[in-house]
């Protein structure tokens, strides 16, 4: 589900945010709305004064290209590592963080929809090497079933923010907070059961580095305690194995029984 076509992604993003977009195959002209100008253009003082003087602000027009050779002073090059994309990414993450959705379904009789808590979790293994993994967990808030890769199931269905006609959402038996705790302990159990070779290697390196440092300190009077401690904690910040668990987004999903 990575972004294959950044150009298309941008069109969707700006249109979803009520901006008027003109596009050829790799370049966009976007008329920003006031809200998007504030989010992306980094000119808080302008908006501050416009409001203070009780005037109407002029949102900017933005020109972007995904083709580096077309970039000019007026047309910004945008790619996954540029600041502009970072802003758009951050904004997308904020706007897609929490949700409550109902499965779209056409039905002629009363249909129950079952509540699921779904969360997207990023796990980062961090030592002298680093890797990220994205997980999407779901828990059935009535019978407690936990599934991995929930997102792929969701993707196949259609969703709406309101309850479809003739459908009725079931009330969770498991409170969402408890559902979350169950997912959490499921995740921790899985992490505990793993080998973590990467962590062993990193820890080994840390030990070796500190041995070198100790030797140096013992033989070089110029290294005082403060410097030693500082250096040691910097080594730890590189090599000490860490696992970082980050929540990307999540929400309640009401699904029809399959």
């Amino acid at each position: 589900m990575t972004i294959e076509n950044l150009h298309k992604f941008l069109i969707d993003y700006f249109e979803a945010n009520q901006c008027n977009v003109e596009a050829d195959q790799d370049t966009l002209t976007i008329q920003l709305t006031e809200e998007m100008d504030e989010r992306l253009m980094n000119r808080p003082f302008y908006w501050h004064y416009v409001r203070k003087l009780n005037q109407e602000g002029q949102p900017l027009q933005l020109k972007l290209t995904t083709n580096h050779s077309k970039a000019t002073k007026e047309i910004d090059y945008i790619y996954f590592t540029t600041d502009r994309f970072k802003k758009i990414a951050d904004d997308s993450l904020v706007k897609g963080r929490f949700t409550k959705l109902y499965q779209q379904t056409k039905t002629t009789k009363q249909t129950p929809l079952y509540p699921w808590l779904i969360v997207t979790i990023k796990i980062t293994y961090l030592g002298k090497n680093q890797s990220d993994h994205l997980h999407s967990y779901g828990i059935h808030l009535i019978n407690g079933t936990i599934i991995d890769q929930a997102f792929f199931r969701l993707q196949k269905k259609e969703w709406s923010m309101t309850v479809p006609d003739l459908c009725y959402p079931m009330t969770p038996l498991i409170k969402p907070i408890n559902g979350f705790k169950r997912i959490d302990s499921y995740l921790i159990d899985q992490l505990k059961a793993k080998e973590h070779q990467w962590a062993k290697e990193s820890f080994q390196s840390l030990t070796e580095e500190i041995e070198l440092l100790d030797y140096f300190k013992a033989h070089n009077p110029s290294m005082d305690d403060a410097l030693y401690q500082q250096e040691k904690s910097n080594l730890e910040s590189i090599y000490q194995p860490k696992i970082k668990i980050e929540l990307i987004n999540g929400g309640l999903f009401y699904l029809k029984q399959d």
């Binding site: 963080r97 929490f98 923010m161 910097n234 194995p241």
Partner: protein, 543 residues
């Protein structure tokens, strides 16, 4: 072993609140978009450079990518980057920086570079890597989590110094790090006290043969890697070959030195031509008179004046004029009678025959101004370039040279940090005696992006002090074809200091020009023999 666990405790609370208030809830498209963004920004479990796929705007060279990977994967972000001049150390450093930024492993970065290069670093990092930096000026805020570029002179002054030492940097980068080799200096102690997680030291000067310097630089990165100073010095100053190999192995853990000959840049050759010029009769008479003048009690002063006269009347005049020795007014009178300098006339001829862009290097500002005037008299357009120019002026001069002028006349300090790949003729109007500086001159044009073979012309006045030294550097030790690093290796093997120190010592301790000549020859002989020996060894090893 303990694995630290870092978790996000606030998410579920926030989610529950939002659900309850039924506010700011995303529709499916927004939810999906967030997932997609998160997945796109994942760091994969591989030793590849993530940033690379996203920097399609720059064509990196294989050795640059190799270097960045090695620093990140094998050296864990603490390294000395010691490529030869012109192989793109800045690009390697930028790539490493970008990769760490992409991996979100660094936020707070301090970049210490020579004052003259501050702007260039900033623009290069932005244009090639989209890295936004802040240049430290009058009231820099060191406490911000950002990427600051500063000169060491600013950083080490109070109140900056104390504030910087309170910060914890994720990455510290130092350009021209060889200036930090002496651990007694304030600069060294300051840099050592800066708290940093990752650290990159950039230098073009090969340091692997100056053992104390090496020890001190490595101790900034990995204290203890080379043991302690005493044992290290005792073990390695013996200079036996096997120990040397041993040391090289250890050094490789923290230092990467790419040589031009090992990269694909090797394809564009250097062609060196020595241009010998004869003084006219009056000039030659004056030279001899200067040589024999009893007025300079110090030999080094005399050599200085002789070198000046080999460059231009003006260069000599400026310093002579300051002297109050008895014979000086007479010499100055004679000097004023002399015609245009033979070398300058030769220069005009050469530039006319090249009929293409040339950069001319001279050691003297007086010569620089004289040459511009003379070129102008002959209808040849030129721009001046000095190290002391402000960055904006430097850029402007470079642009003028590129678009309008045929010739750039530069003094020494122009050596660092200006890139002139569009020009491929370099004239050493007079020569510095420090091979490193010659290498830096050549590095301005013989670098990545050069599409022609590079032609280097060395001017010297026949049978002058200049001639003797050029003869030593060029004929006897093949300086221009050899890599500077090799020469350093040889000097270290022979327990000699740098070439220019040796030359200056010879001059200082000799009674006459004849003696200087003989001693220079001896020095050349020793070096030459050692080279032959080395070459033979190499042959044996490879056969």
């Amino acid at each position: 072993m303990h694995i630290e666990l870092i978790r996000d405790q606030t998410f579920i609370e926030q989610l529950l609140t939002q659900l309850e208030e039924n506010q700011q809830l995303a529709n499916w498209d927004s939810f999906k978009r967030a997932y997609q963004v998160a997945e796109t920004l994942l760091i994969p479990d591989s030793k590849q450079l993530t940033a690379l796929n996203q920097l399609k705007n720059v064509q990196f060279l294989p050795h640059q990518i190799q270097t960045a990977k090695k620093v990140i994967n094998d050296m864990n972000g603490r390294a000395i980057l010691a490529d030869e001049v012109g192989l793109g150390k800045t690009i390697e450093a930028g790539l490493i920086l970008k990769e760490y930024l992409t991996r979100r492993l660094i936020k707070k970065v301090l970049i210490i570079v020579p004052a003259s290069l501050v702007n260039q670093w900033a623009s290069e990092l932005y244009e090639k890597f989209f890295i936004k930096t802040t240049i430290a000026k009058k009231n820099p805020d060191w406490t911000l989590d950002n990427i600051q570029i500063t000169s060491i002179d600013l950083a080490k002054r109070e109140p900056h110094r104390s504030i910087i030492l309170e910060q914890q940097y994720d990455l510290l980068l130092i350009d021209e790090a060889h200036k930090l080799k002496n651990k007694q200096t304030k600069n060294y102690q300051f840099v050592r006290a800066i708290s940093k997680k990752y650290c990159l030291l950039l230098t073009a000067t090969p340091i692997q043969n100056k053992l104390d310097d090496l020890f001190n630089l490595v101790s900034l990165l990995k204290p203890g890697l080379l043991g302690d100073q005493d044992t290290f010095t005792k073990t390695y100053t013996q200079g036996s070959k096997t120990l040397d190999q041993e040391l090289k192995k250890v050094i490789k853990k923290v230092m990467i030195r790419n040589l031009r000959q090992d990269t694909i840049l090797n394809t564009k050759a250097r062609k060196v031509e020595n241009v010998f010029i004869q003084f006219t009769k009056p000039e030659k008479d004056f030279y001899q008179e200067l040589e024999q003048a009893p007025i300079f009690n110090h030999n080094a002063t005399k050599i200085l004046h002789l070198r000046e006269f080999c460059s231009s009347r003006e260069a000599l005049y400026l310093t002579l004029n300051k002297s109050d020795a008895k014979d000086v007014p007479r010499l100055i009178e004679q000097l004023k009678q002399l015609p245009h300098h033979a070398k300058a006339i030769k220069l005009i001829e050469l530039i006319q025959s090249i009929d293409d862009k040339c950069i001319v290097f001279t050691e003297y500002r007086a010569t620089q101004v004289y040459l511009q005037w003379l070129l102008n008299e002959h209808g040849i357009s030129s721009v001046l370039f000095r190290g002391g120019f402000k960055r904006g002026k430097k850029d402007w001069m470079k642009q003028l040279f590129k678009d309008h002028a045929q010739v750039m006349i530069a003094t020494e300090a122009a050596g660092e940090g200006i890139n002139l790949q569009f020009c491929h003729h370099l004239i050493n109007y007079d020569l510095p005696w420090n091979p490193m500086r010659i290498e830096q001159r050549i590095g301005r044009i013989h670098r990545f992006g050069q599409t022609n073979d590079v032609k280097i012309y060395n001017f010297s006045i026949e049978d002058s002090i200049e001639d003797h030294v050029l003869n030593l550097l060029y004929n006897k030790i093949n300086l221009f074809e050899r890599v500077v690093g090799e020469l350093d290796q040889i000097l270290a093997d022979l327990n000699l200091q740098s070439i220019d120190t040796e030359i200056n010592q010879i001059i200082d301790q000799s009674q006459s020009i004849g003696e200087i000549k003989i001693k220079l020859n001896n020095l050349a002989e020793v070096i030459h023999e050692h080279q032959l020996e080395d070459d033979n060894n190499d042959n044996r090893e490879s056969s």
